[in-house]
Amino acid sequence: MKYVDEFRDPEVIRKTAEEIRRLADPDRHYRLMEVCGGHTHAIYRFGLKDVLPANIELVHGPGCPVCVLPMGRIDDGLSVAEQPDVIFTAFGDMMRVPGAKGSPLEYKARGMDVRVVYSPADALKLAQKNPEKRVMFFAIGFETTAPSTALTLMQAKALGVRNFTVFCNHVTIIPAIRAILDSPDMRIDAFIGPGHVSTVIGCRPYEWISKNEGKPIVVSGFEPLDMLQSIVMLLRQLRRGEAKVENQYRRVVPWEGNRAALRAMAEVFELRPYFEWRGMGFISQSALRLRDSYAEWDAERQFSIPGLRVTDPKAAQCGEVLKGVLKPAQCKLFGRECTPEQPIGALMVSSEGSCAAYYNYEHRKAAVA
């Protein structure tokens, strides 16, 4: 493992890796899914695969918010940028994600007012400073970022800021896990649960995975040792034939989640009946929209939005990679038509996307060797 010596307690890491070897049944193939894109990035960056036995396969999950957004939503959001007096704001991660008519960055180059913000609160501030403009925030993210959007909307309402809207693309992690478990071409033995999403939702929402589906899940931190310890915990459960929700990331994740965050989300958002995910199709009750009491700040109600459905380029296999059915390098476009410099699919854009992670750490390494 590349960074083992730079890291605190390399000896503990080696011992934990030995423990994994001891616990893994050599006659069995394990498929463990890391749900969160942050974990995917860390796994490649730290070279964790190199310390795991060959029969432990890490399958990358759908937890990269930029990656799961279907292209039509990007075009829908950008259609607002084309309207007069609009300032389109989004996180930096979104800027290079291609829509059918270009990425936000390309819209900016064409003269549209497109700006990066680092916090939804800054988009609100921009609206306050530019009362003659209409500021729209293109919101993405799982439960980690949804509470911040909710609080910003609550502030907009309290302050009576009328020239601020949110184009809401917030999604929720549980229905995505359910869709993966329901998918006939998926066989997952256990889950490495997301760290920061769980800070908000806690561990209880995962209980059905163990109780009803019989799969272990361990909420994990992001350091190499965290992830290796989580794998030890999963293997112990599998060995004993148990299925429990465990929390390896206790120093940050409370079992009950963050009450203030859940309350803010409940105040502002309601579940959409269904929402389209890239490559996974429509998943019921898997995304959030603004409640009627926030209609004034809802870009989908304040602007006329085309409601586009754009299919991904035919040759791109983002969906299969997102579901973990294909490895990034098995996609026909990987590393040729689709690279981090010229991305075709969003998985190649975000550092949390499995294609970008694989390209940056495995593909380049192979190219140098």
Binding site: F7, I140, N258
Partner: protein, 116 residues
Amino acid sequence: MCLAIPGKIVELTPESHHNAVVDVAGVRRRVDLSLLEFEAPQPGDWVLIHVGFALSKISEEDALDQMRTLRLLGEEQAAMEEVRGYGLGEAAADERARAPEALGPSQSPPAKRGAA
């Protein structure tokens, strides 16, 4: 966007109970504390920040570990860029205007890189 950035609360902002000035590797920005309503954050506490909002209170040891993790992940620069961007990059100027003795020019961007 999913970066969790560790910072230390320097002072609570009296005019707005949900705001605080937080220090991240020498860069000071206003961060929203509303999500810690039930945890009574105080100056000196360490927090994990997501998109300008503190989402959890952590120990100092875990904060330092988190900074090291960001560095190992190659995300430290992105994290510092994000923090400098909070308040559209203007919070430092606000702070200086309000309390000139509290913040020297060394804290305003570009701050020294914390890679040492």
